[in-house]
Symmetry: C2
Subunit: 408 residues, 2 copies
Amino acid sequence: MSAAFASRWVELPGHVREDADAATLPQGFRAAGIAAGIKPEGLDLGVLVADPHETTSAARFTRSGVLAAPVQVTKERTDLGAIRAVAANSGNANAATGRPGLDEAARMQGAAAMVSGAPAEQVAVCSTGVIGVQLDGEKVVKGLLAARPELRPDGALDFAEAIRTTDALDKHLALDVELPGGTVRLTAQAKGAGMIQPNFATMLCFVQTDAALPAETCDLLLGVCVKRSFDRISVDGQLSTNDTAILMASGASGVAVEPESEAELRFGEALDYALRRLAILMVRDGEGARRVTRVVVRGGVAEGVERVAREVANSPLVKTAIYGNDPNWGRIAQAVGAAMLDMHPLHYDIRIDGTLVCSGGYATGKTAAFSGDEIEVEITLPGDGAETEVFFSDLGHEYIKINAEYTT
Amino acid sequence: MSAAFASRWVELPGHVREDADAATLPQGFRAAGIAAGIKPEGLDLGVLVADPHETTSAARFTRSGVLAAPVQVTKERTDLGAIRAVAANSGNANAATGRPGLDEAARMQGAAAMVSGAPAEQVAVCSTGVIGVQLDGEKVVKGLLAARPELRPDGALDFAEAIRTTDALDKHLALDVELPGGTVRLTAQAKGAGMIQPNFATMLCFVQTDAALPAETCDLLLGVCVKRSFDRISVDGQLSTNDTAILMASGASGVAVEPESEAELRFGEALDYALRRLAILMVRDGEGARRVTRVVVRGGVAEGVERVAREVANSPLVKTAIYGNDPNWGRIAQAVGAAMLDMHPLHYDIRIDGTLVCSGGYATGKTAAFSGDEIEVEITLPGDGAETEVFFSDLGHEYIKINAEYTT
């Protein structure tokens, strides 16, 4: 069960109600999680099935030039607008595993098709874990067969558990969303980001609803909401070979979400809430992190605004200062300068939780602490019209400990 | 005195001999380092003077969009081809200090002119330390006046000590360089890089010679050698507001280095040796670092080769794995993919100290440890004709400790 979630940056929309029972999937879905022996212990293989043939879907993947085998197989062989089943394992990323890895990913897809009753081209496969080690396909196939009788309408938490690695926080939720045509359910399960699985910053997220959405609407809404959530977070600036986000809509509630309708707007708001909440949880769960910081950058040039936000979010100097509550905003100024090469003289302001510490590039003499769970840093560059935000975790001892001693 | 220096990546040229006496400057130079009270204790203000009026010079500065006041003053007011004096302080970066900071930097320049006997437009000023705190100009002026009687031909080590912050390793050297026209002397003093001064990754480097070089030759040689040294290192991917490198040639030996001559080639090799050695020392001295890694990337596209090298060098996952001797080369594969967005399928090889761990993007089954003081990682991308290298430090507990608790 999820602990109560609160963040100053995410608000539950008025037409959305949280359901404490996150195990029960929307109508039309079944899920299971089992221990297949890929990890030394615990659940490591999840299966998610949408029974209605009219299920629609959308997917987003990592942009890494080094794609894991399951990402390749899903991108190339799966009808991404009509995904009816997902098989996902933890403990092995099946990345940099060559032809044998592709064969195992395809075999995983085939076995999941058999178990779910959906054709192989409607099955997505996902993996997360260590890179460069062959996935034991026998274990996966046996595991999938064992999962078949376990598939249940209230299996969401087992599925969530199976894709989890070292996540300290639960990352699942269930929402009831009031639409003009009736109430629909939206559930989601996510894992990781930023080294929560210490070996790799893999982010997986699966969202289910019993609303009826055209595949194009799934794609549009998932695209917009991923851009506002998982695309706006950073634990350590690392990009995974395996990141995958999948939205599936079974239509089993009979409530339709038509393009450009009030229902689309409302459903989109609920999806946006869900993904931003999960994204912030990923940052909050960044290994050893104490605080989540949102950096907001405003200015006249979109590219510059984005570059400054990323430079601040990924600066180990800024991250360690926040971790240590060292009120050393000069490190933020350094990151601004590093992002704006050859742009001197640069007029910029820095505010920390509302306190103006740097005005026009110069110290105001005021200081601000990096205390509390959530910090807001605002940076203003010359001009206006462009604005962005990045949520990031700090950098502390636990990160080093976990990552210096992972496979050994 | 410098400890004996050895690295597999830097070799003393045959015509260059190291002199254990690094205190004695080349002919025509005097230097001093004194305690001006800018830091709580120790030397914190250095002065370097070239007495010959015909002294030539060249300088390179940080490309940050946020320039410290001394960098602005030196870039705008100093004849960079004829620098005859340098004043440099540690303990305060005089950055993000606005108009008062610029005034203090100009005052520092004026006082150093008085002390050195060179006109203000032939004086460079440098600072390193905390950002966003006003520099106490009274202390600087008093300190400079106190330094005047201390200026000595064998003052290089006091000068080096004054610009040092928390450097654990000495970064100075003295070389005798045989040129066709006679032997010239080359000395250099450097500090920092990569948070050796924990607050900031500032790199300062001063090089003196009694060879006679046209200013254009100074500029050419310094430019080439900085590109092959300080531009190729990373401790934590952070760019300082204060980085400065200055080469001064007094000509007092009477040995000329003419453009496109054998002497120029030989002098360039000595300078290259000196700067690469100091650069590697900076990486070796990266806070808490255990090992220096050189990543060499080869391929067909210069931009891609550079991007991959930087992504690997600045990846906290790669750095922590090397720190912990965790033979997890998958993190290098991840960094390659992150640098090459949307480039799948990507064929690349990874070698660690000669062992091919990944061939054509796929695990070979071989592993290689990250042990010893120096690691070499070679990455081959498709095509050929482009090659680069970056030297970087690992990331360990000491870095967090130092940087989370700096100003507090």
